[in-house]
């Protein structure tokens, strides 16, 4: 089976006059198979959003440099003209953002925001688009969808808004959906519902999903494969069960350790990762994670760890369970 999305050596550097470039994404490669759910996990600032925006080509026109290859169905997205890209966005690939309220246009109705996409990409007339919009809202579990069509975004609850955004993103049955922390802005109880909904819809439509999150709990219930991102590079990639059963990278290990376990002994200390992203070393001459790593060796601060691919992808001098 050939990959739906192949990202190869993606680099994004933000440039500012008079300052050295700041590299946000530093040679990220991963692929997504049709219908697959792939996780992109890492703590704040590791480059998750920048990666997703680069794939959609939504980064600002100026002030950054993107290199590498992003292929969808073998087509190089980075080489498409703006017009060609606009034809594909929303139809072949679409995206859901973190904050459902600010992602909706406050001055037009939810219905118009759905029908806009339907008339744009599926050539529907107004009436057909409205009927389809009702179907879509119904499918994402919005009660009384006919009435909700004429509601403005601020009249919906947070969960409803995210449902509406999911309906919009899936309106044209894209084959790839990128969801950038779609539940972070929601109540914990609503989060689970939205994740269930995404999982169900993606399974029904065969849409592949790139799930971006800092929450391994989300990954555990959803993803087929997981990419763990640290400091703009993928440090570990494995099939979900493999990753949870035996995390190899100390960073992944730390992330897993910081999830409270319901079956653990009460009062057990959570193994949080010490330090912060600010302590990073440059990847060019070290392992960026070394200063925070419990397994760090001398070599970790002086040599860039080479990526190893055997069953899983790993970038570490001294993986967990090696010695």
């Amino acid at each position: 089976m050939s990959a739906l999305l192949e990202v190869e050596d993606l680099k994004v550097a933000f440039t500012r006059r008079g300052e050295p470039d700041s590299v946000a994404v530093d040679g990220v490669s991963f692929d997504v198979q049709p219908g697959e759910i792939v996780g992109l996990v890492g703590e704040s600032g590791c480059g998750k959003s920048v990666t997703s925006l680069a794939i959609m080509r939504l980064l600002p026109e100026r002030g950054n440099r993107v290199t590498g290859s992003i292929r969808m169905d073998g087509d190089e997205l980075t080489a498409l003209s703006d017009g060609q890209l606009r034809e594909r966005r929303g139809r072949d690939l679409s995206m859901i953002f973190q904050d459902p309220l600010s992602s909706l246009n406050p001055v037009i109705t939810v219905g118009l925001q759905i029908t806009e996409v339907l008339t744009r990409h599926r050539g529907m007339d107004k009436k057909a688009a409205r009927a389809e919009a009702v179907e879509l809202l119904d499918r994402v579990g919005i009660p009384d969808p006919r009435r909700r069509l004429d509601a403005y975004p601020h009249q919906l609850s947070g969960g409803m808004r995210q449902r509406a955004l999911i309906a919009i993103a899936l309106a044209c049955s894209p084959r790839l959906l990128i969801a950038d922390e779609p539940t972070t802005a929601l109540d914990v109880t609503i989060q689970a519902q939205i994740l269930d909904l995404l999982k169900q819809l993606v399974a029904e439509t065969g849409t592949a999903l790139v799930m971006i999150t800092h929450d391994l709990g989300v990954v555990a219930g959803l993803c087929d494969r997981v990419n763990v991102l640290y400091g703009g590079r993928i440090v570990e990639r494995a099939e979900r069960h493999e990753l949870f059963r035996a995390p190899r990278h100390p960073y992944t290990h730390g992330l897993l350790g910081s999830i409270p376990r319901l079956d653990g002994p009460p009062g057990e200390d959570l193994a949080a990762i010490k330090g912060s992203v600010n302590d990073n070393l440059p990847w060019t001459s070290a392992c960026a994670f070394a200063p925070r790593c419990p397994n760090a060796l001398e070599v970790c601060t002086s040599v860039t760890p080479a990526p190893v691919e055997d069953g899983r992808f790993l970038r570490c001098h001294n993986p967990v369970g090696a010695s």
Binding site: R88, R89, F97, D99, S102, N105, H121, Y152, Q155, I190
Partner: protein, 305 residues
């Protein structure tokens, strides 16, 4: 258990709510400043609409019984049938004062509207395209903005061969254009960075639709507020032009600025001739300003609870 709880919550959050405009209107109604402004503006608009019915006499009508009593050292005050007495030419001062409100409203509204339309056009183009289009348009705008508005209006009005109501409107409208252009351009740029525009872009919405449907309506809030405030300054500017003799010379059309100018020579004789038009100008400008400021507060998302 959880699912039951969450489902309920989803529903509760979902009920109620009103449109943003309705929300703003409700907050406006609770604001005493807005009410004072609205009452002044409302009265002014009513008077100017019904002035021909309210005014007992025509604006250019000269009355012999008034003219007979005109002397260099005295202008007759209130007489039966002439509540505010005569003006310096033996016309009914009260009627002229009422009818002048029409000129003020007409000039103010058109100077503002024309300024708004062209300003919005320029600001939208600059904000939507960016790049050199933006740079060129904003340089010109900046130059115009750097000239004091009244001075600019006077210069433009003075270019006209024969001053008239139209030249006043054009002069004041031109002064207003850069104000609206810069304001909208800033709001458009902010919209360009906004999440919902990013989301619309991620859906492949066409560029024209993004500008017209997603950016422009969201950027118009401050422009509406400014329009209310600009009505006040337009009225003042227009009155100033008339005062300086750059306005409508037609005696059949009373105008507060011109009445003020003509009253100057009679300040010792009968100060009321200057006092009433001056108060009228100030009150109307104040009304629009109060309303505009209250509108700004009402539309400010930070004030929303």
């Amino acid at each position: 258990m959880t699912s039951l709880l969450t489902r309920r919550r989803d529903k509760i959050d979902d009920l109620g709510g009103r449109s943003l405009t309705a929300d703003a209107l409700i907050r406006l109604r609770r604001n005493p400043v807005a009410i004072v402004g609205a009452v002044i503006v409302g009265l002014f608009v009513l008077v100017s609409i019904f002035a021909p019915l309210l005014a007992p006499h025509g604006p250019a009508e000269v009355f012999p019984e008034l003219q007979r009593n005109l002397r260099p050292d005295s202008i007759p005050g209130a007489l039966p049938g002439f509540p505010l007495g005569s003006d310096q030419n033996g016309r009914d001062f009260f009627s002229r004062l009422l009818l002048a409100s029409r000129q003020t409203l007409f000039v103010g509204v058109f100077a503002t509207l024309i300024g708004l339309v062209f300003g919005v056009l320029i600001g939208a183009i600059a904000g939507a395209f960016g790049g050199w289009v933006d740079t060129v348009l904003m340089r010109v705008t900046d130059v115009l903005l750097s000239i004091p508005s009244l001075l600019l209006a006077i210069s433009i009005a003075a270019l006209a061969a024969r001053p008239s109501q139209t030249t006043v409107i054009i002069a004041v409208a031109l002064v207003n254009v850069p104000i609206f252009a810069r304001l909208l351009r800033g709001a458009m740029l902010a919209q360009r960075e906004s999440d919902h525009v990013l989301a619309a872009t991620s859906l492949g919405v066409r560029r024209g639709a993004i500008v017209v449907r997603h950016m422009l309506p969201n950027a118009m809030g401050p422009v509406i507020v400014q329009a209310t405030l600009t009505l006040a300054t337009s009225i003042l500017d227009a009155a100033a032009l008339s005062f300086l003799g750059l306005g409508d010379g037609d005696p059949a059309r009373a105008e507060w600025g011109l009445m003020l100018a003509n009253a100057q020579s009679y300040l010792d004789v009968r100060p009321a001739l200057a006092f009433y038009p001056a108060i009228a100008i100030i009150l109307v400008a104040l009304g629009f300003t109060l309303l505009g400021e209250a509108l700004r507060e009402a539309l400010d998302p930070k004030g929303r609870r």
